[in-house]
Each structure stands twice: as structure tokens, then as C-alpha cells.
Symmetry: C2
Amino acid sequence: MDSTDLSSGRVESALRGGVTKERILDAAEHLFAEHGFAATSLRKITAAAQVNLASVNYHFRSKESLIVAVLIRKMSPINARRIELLDAAEKRAGEGPLMLEDVLDAFVGPVLRARQEGGEASNFPKLLGRVYTEPGDWVARIFPQALGEVAARFRVAFLKALPASEFVDAMWSMHFAIGSLAHYLAAPALLSFLLQEEAATLDVEVVQARLVRFMAGGMRALAAKKEAAG
Amino acid sequence: MDSTDLSSGRVESALRGGVTKERILDAAEHLFAEHGFAATSLRKITAAAQVNLASVNYHFRSKESLIVAVLIRKMSPINARRIELLDAAEKRAGEGPLMLEDVLDAFVGPVLRARQEGGEASNFPKLLGRVYTEPGDWVARIFPQALGEVAARFRVAFLKALPASEFVDAMWSMHFAIGSLAHYLAAPALLSFLLQEEAATLDVEVVQARLVRFMAGGMRALAAKKEAAG
DNA sequence: GTTTAAATCATACGACCGTTTGAATTGCCT
DNA sequence: AGGCAATTCAAACGGTCGTATGATTTAAAC
């Protein structure tokens, strides 16, 4: 039985229990980010994890379930941190206006910093950027589970920070902003191509400052749509 | 020999020559956009095109070459139209300032309108949005061929339309802006999720107006980075 | 020490993959 | 009519895929 099922009352094995599962998740996360979901076979994952092939279908039901498990495992702390930062920003604002930049920082900060969270160098951000554009229906099916609460919280936060905008406009600018983030995460090759010989800054603080400034400017311009119509 | 090789002096067959090749490209374009590159097999393509399996490797050397052919075929007229519109915008501006919105319209307009260009309904925009995030090195290798001239022209155009910005900042905002576009094209599911019960506008004019407004606001905010520092 | 369930293992299944081959067919040319 | 290159075709190649099976090993419970 799966070691996460504790209903039997059996104590989890300290030596090996859970180790294999974690090794699979780690290897899968790394390979998915590097080569995509379809191009990464279970054999490559189990070989990298130094684990038997059948253990994937034992611990997870299928490859698709493994993908979902990889995403949920990494998204959970990121989303928790997002809400944490949003809570702080809202408390800081009090009755006064909620700063758009603070909301955006709460949204993108935890993702950009997810690289060093795992302890070792993981390229999960690249994987996350890949998720949105992955074909198939399964990715849309995990939206509610993966970012249901986050979406709900940031929906109202963005509406509060963009008082001039209507709901639909705010959602569109949220969508565009997420696009900027996802594209930065997933397509570093294009940035290198655009910059030509210039080197791309990898410092998280600088990147976040640029990204948030771009997002805020775009969202405010879209929110002010009504007034500037002509 | 491939029908596009006219060096033999042989006149291309009017009845069948070129027909198979086009059928393959059409079917491949549709299936690639719908299910991605890796998940679309040559057998599914040839079945949809009602063409023999081996004809893919006859007309194109390999699956990867077919992918490149699909992309180039559709990108060429789009890029030509982009440069056409940019020429018009620059001529219109004359010695005066180049409007950022005009440059952005020239960049995104042809892509958003690519749906109806093929005559029938094609979902090439979705395919294009997929390209940037596709794993593997081959996509980075076709950047120069696919948008080399376009990138060069728009690099200088954006620099001219954003006089306050430095080169690096302009390239970053260009990257973010492309991200918004690509994400809109590739991930309509997320927009639907964000909008909840609200319906997403599909009218090209309205979408383009929103997108350009967002991009322009973001790029200007990033260009003004120096002055607003603190 | 025996029992028992969880976990790992080697192995195999059927399906599908991209590509190749060589023969059959087509249709323009002389 | 005959030649010939371009094209289409059925069939097969070797590989890899996700998943399933049944035996084996592990270690906690009694």
C-alpha cells in the first residue's frame, strides 16, 4: 500500500518508507522541467532516481497522476507564501489604498524564489512556466486544485488595487501579467536571443523589480481604459 | 524528388504535385496546435490528411523538419505583414516621435488576425503561442530564421518609441510583452478560469486594443525606471 | 519465530513511435 | 508507344512507451 495511506495504523517505515516516493518526485520534477512532460519517460525518471520502473505505478497510479503530484507538491508552499504575503500587504494597507505593486510582489515573489527553496538547485520555475501552455485538458482540470484559493484571493486584491477598473478588465490584465511571468520562466532562450551579446541578469531582486514594474504599468493602463477612450 | 525543387526543369504536376505536401502541412498545423508537437504522431497526421505515412519522410526529411516547415510557412506572411505595418507607422511618424502603440499594433495585429488568413478556421495562433515554451534546443535554433529580420526591426523601433529607456530595459519589456501575447494565444483555459462565469471576448479588435494598452503601459513603466527609482 | 502487509524487483505485454525499404503507380517528355 | 523521374504505397524495421504481473524481499506486529 502507498506509504501516505496511514489508515491501516501501520507506522511508516523510517528507513525506506517514503524515500522512493520522494526520489521519484525529485527526479521527475527535474526532468519534466528540462524536457517537458511528454518527452520525459517513466524509464528516464526511474533511472535518474535509481529506482525500479514499477515503483512509479505503485506509488502513483499513472504518469499523469505523477505529473499532478509533482505540481501540487511544489505549488503548495508557493501558494501558501503568496497568501501570507498578501495578508501582510492588506494588513499594512489597513483602511487605506492597497498598493498594486505589493500585490504583484506577493504574487511573483514566491515563484521567482522557488529555485532555492528546495535546498538544492531546482528548475521548478521553468516547469511552472511550462504548465500553462501544456496541451491537453488535464492541465485545465488541476487549475481549481492548484491555484483555486490563490486565484480567489488575488482576484479581489487586484480589484481593490485597481479601483478604476471593471471586473473583466482586471481579469484580462491579470491574465496578461501571468503571461509575462510564465513567459519569463519558460522561455529564457528568447530573452537571450533578444539581448544578443548582452548578458541577462539572473539576480532575483532585479528581475522581480523589472517584472513587477512592467505588470503594474500594464494593469494600470488597462484599468484606465475608460477615461482614455477616444 | 520534392516538388519544390524546380532545378530539374520539370514542370510541377498540376493535379497531384504539391497537393499531398499541402495536405500534410494543413493537418500537421491543426494537430500540432491542438495537442502539441510531441503528442502528435506522424500516423495521426497522415491519417487526418488522408495521405500515406511514408510521404511525410519523402516530402520532408523528418518530423522535426516538418515542424519547422509548418512554422515557417505560417510565420512568413505574418512577419511580412508586421514589417509592412511597421514601415507604414515609421513613414507616418516621419521626423516626429514614433508612437509605441503603433509599433505594438504592427507586432501583434498580424498574429491575432492569422486565424482567418488561411481561409478556413485555423488555430495557428495557439500553435505559435506554444512554440516559445516548447522544450528542446531546436526551437531556439529556428529563432534567427523565423523572426530574425522582425526582431532586428522591432528592436530599433521599440528603442525609438521608448526614448527614455536603455537597450537592456527595452529588450526586457519586449520580452515581457511577447509573453503576454504568447500566453493569451496559448492558454485560453486560464483566462476562462479567471473570468469564471463571465464569457471571454473573442472579437479580435477588442482583444488587440486591450493587449496593446497593457503592453504599452508596461513598457513605458519599465522605460521610466530610472526616474522613478527610490 | 512466525505472520502479514508494504514495498521492491525482474520481466513481459501490447501498442505506438519515427524511419526505411523496395515495389507499384503516375503522368510528363521525347 | 516507350522511357523515366516523381510520387505513392503497403509493409516492415528496431525502439521506446505506459502499464501489468507475479515472485521476492523487507520490516513491523504478534
